[in-house]
């Protein structure tokens, strides 16, 4: 029993077994029940079957072998009480009709041999109505013969009638048995299906972390074991996710610490470079100090970019997009760079409209993009002495007259700054186009979907 509960296969085999046996068993079983109940109540006194009647008549004939006319009449009278619709009569050896029941039976008084043969011919066969049986009285018809006629309609037993009346019950009962079988098997599969669907739903629905929740294990059968395995898997995935989060956090921390460990000595170097700078140095010495300072600044930028790039590519760079006024951001950003370009005697062209233009972007990221691009111009395109920033038709344009991006700049890096810009633009769904040749570089930045503009 326990095994049965634990195995869907066993349950299924049981149902199939039941199904293959249901036909013979149910037919036999039903028949037994059916006939037994219906045959009850049949009286044994009265016979209905033709053969039984014939035997009964022959027995009667035998018992009346030596009987007198009175005795025959008496016997016939008794039989007539049982078979009320029957015709009974006796024809003696001389061919005289002697006793008739009922009295007024229209039957010939005198039988000739041909009459007898004609009578036999008329009343032969299974369908001849009324049913007729003839028995000789005494050996070889010494005392004539007796005739028993019963209308066929009177030969149906009450049980036959009843059976006919309730015949439709049998297929209904059979149908009911089949329906029960179909119901049981449907229920069996319905429950399996329900549990499978439940499991499927549990797999599809996941909480915020993207891991499905475990399911309640209802039984110990195959599906139950599947549910157990599923729960185990969920647990493993969850553990893996936590481990991954932990590792990511560790990596983030490691990067921050690495940055710290690199910058701390750099700060000391910078401080001492500054101190050297204040000493009285030869011209060459001053040049070296200047170079040192420049390289420190460069390394600082490199570390910053490296950290940012690592965070960006692992999706760990904090990203809080909102509706921002890019005109204002461009203005603020350029304000910090203005003095630097001013010192380098750049020609600066600014065409920024006096209205707000809203983009969906992270302000920190957008500032970072502008900083990187302006820094690029400062670092690589300073020879052109020209910078233009324009915002026209919802598009931000940056132009310089440097040697172009393809030429080798004297202070070239690995281009990580531009990679960061590219990654950030992509993440914020901004379109970035660059036209560059030896006469300068033109960049345009615009929003891919234009749904957030000028809404205020």
């Amino acid at each position: 029993m326990k095994r049965l509960r634990r195995s869907l296969l066993a349950q299924y085999v049981l149902i199939i077994l039941f199904a293959t046996m249901i036909l013979p068993i149910s037919v036999t079983g039903l028949s037994i029940v059916f006939y037994n109940t219906l045959y009850e109540g049949n009286s044994d006194d009265r016979l209905y079957n033709g053969t039984d009647l014939e035997q009964m008549w022959h027995r009667t004939a035998k018992s009346l072998e030596q009987a007198t006319e009175e005795e025959i009449r008496e016997k016939f009278h008794q039989l007539k009480l049982v078979y009320t619709n029957a015709n009974l009569y006796w024809v003696d050896v001389k061919g005289m009709t002697r006793v008739t029941f009922p009295e007024n039976l229209p039957v010939r008084k005198q039988w000739k041999a041909t009459d007898a043969i004609q009578f036999m011919k008329d009343h032969r066969g299974m369908t001849a109505d009324p049913f007729t049986t003839v028995a000789f009285l005494g050996t070889e018809g010494k005392h004539g013969f007796i005739v028993f006629q019963l209308p066929r309609s009177d030969m149906e037993s009450p049980s036959d009638k009843l059976r006919e009346q309730y015949n439709f019950l049998f297929p209904i009962a059979l149908l009911a048995v089949f329906i029960v079988f179909i119901l049981i098997s449907t229920l069996f599969f319905y429950r399996i299906r329900k549990r499978l669907l439940h499991l499927q739903e549990a797999m599809a629905i996941s909480d915020q972390s993207g891991v499905p929740s475990p399911v309640a294990v209802s039984r110990e059968d195959e599906i139950g074991r599947l549910e157990l395995s599923f729960n185990r898997m969920v647990q493993e995935v969850e553990e893996g996710r936590l481990r991954q989060l932990e590792e990511e956090e560790l990596r983030k921390e490691l990067i921050a610490n690495l940055s710290h460990d690199l910058r701390t000595p750099l700060t000391t170097i910078r401080g001492h470079t500054y101190r050297l700078h204040q000493e009285h140095l030869s011209e060459k010495g001053m040049e070296s100090v200047k170079l040192l300072d420049e390289k420190i600044r460069y390394m600082d930028g490199l570390i910053d970019n490296l950290v940012s790039y690592t965070l960006l590519t692992t999706g760990k760079y904090p990203f809080y997009p909102e509706k921002i006024d890019i005109v204002r951001l461009v203005r603020t950003s350029f304000a910090t760079w203005y003095p630097i370009f001013e010192n380098l005697e750049f020609t600066m062209e600014l065409d920024i409209p006096d209205r707000q233009i809203f983009w969906q972007a992270d302000p920190q990221w957008f500032s970072r993009i502008l900083d990187n691009l302006l820094q690029n111009i400062h670092r690589h395109a300073a020879d052109g002495r020209y910078i233009a920033i324009r915002i026209q038709e919802e598009t931000l344009m940056l132009e310089d007259h440097g040697p172009g991006m393809k030429s080798k700049s004297s202070s070239q890096g690995v281009g990580i700054g531009l990679s960061i810009v590219s990654l950030m633009m992509k993440e914020m769904k901004l379109e970035w186009n660059i036209q560059t040749d030896t006469n300068g570089t033109k960049m345009t930045i615009r929003q891919k979907q234009r749904s957030y503009q000028n809404e205020y």
Binding site: R263, T267, H272, A335
Partner: protein, 222 residues
């Protein structure tokens, strides 16, 4: 003398910064950790705080100091460039500087912060033909005439003076003075600056004190 409370655990950097700031005329109280910061706070005009410290980190110490004395300017120094740090730091700190910083930049930022907080004891600023006394709110020309400004004009001028050499966009300037969001297209600031220039500039059509940076904003060079 202006006193700076400087919390830094790195000996080399700490020694150097202390020397440098002292050479620039500040009095520096240097602590190796947050311990004793509370006691030193009342005498300080500004706090320079390193983020990575043994024991309590710079964020915790900074927030505690701000709670104790809300008006103390705090400049956060960090060698960790994690953007989270910067965002978290600027929740309470007034400025944020990443290492390796140039000593001049640190000094400049300290100046700006002190001036913004009104803790600058600099007696007088000389600008072109003006002698400005921020403490007494008096502006005199070299000829000795006093220039009287309306309250708003004075606020604008002071705000610009407290951000020396910094280009302030019209949004920054408006929001700094009026303390409400700037509405695009508002000409109020423009009008005020025009009247201010008429009073302080020798030739208002060729302004030399308040410089217009076209398309960006205004600047006062010192």
């Amino acid at each position: 003398m202006r006193t700076i409370l400087y919390i830094e655990d790195d000996q080399e950097i700490g020694r150097f910064v202390k020397d440098d700031l002292e050479a620039r005329g500040f009095s520096v109280r240097w602590l190796l950790s947050g311990e004793g910061a509370d006691e030193a706070l009342p005498e300080a005009d500004l706090v320079v705080l390193d983020v990575m410290l043994p024991g309590l980190d710079g964020f915790t110490i900074g927030q505690r100091l701000k709670r104790k004395q809300g008006d103390i300017p705090i400049l956060l120094l960090s060698a960790r460039t994690a953007v989270d740090d910067k965002l978290a730091g600027l929740q309470f700190a007034d400025d944020y500087l990443t290492k390796p910083f140039h000593p001049d930049e640190l000094a400049a930022r300290i100046d700006v912060l002190l001036r913004r907080a009104g803790r600058d004891l600099m007696e007088e600023i000389t600008l072109d033909h003006l002698r400005i006394n921020l403490k007494e709110n008096r502006i005199l020309t070299t000829a000795g005439e006093e220039i009287l400004l309306t309250a708003k004009q004075h606020q604008i001028f002071t705000y610009l003076l407290r951000h020396p050499n910094q280009i302030l966009t019209k949004e920054q300037l408006y929001e700094g003075v009026w303390q409400e969001p700037y509405l695009e297209g508002d000409k109020t600031l423009h009008v005020h600056i025009r009247y201010l220039r008429e009073k302080i500039e020798q030739d208002p059509s060729q302004p030399r004190i308040i410089e217009t940076i076209r398309g960006i904003g205004y600047r006062v060079k010192q």
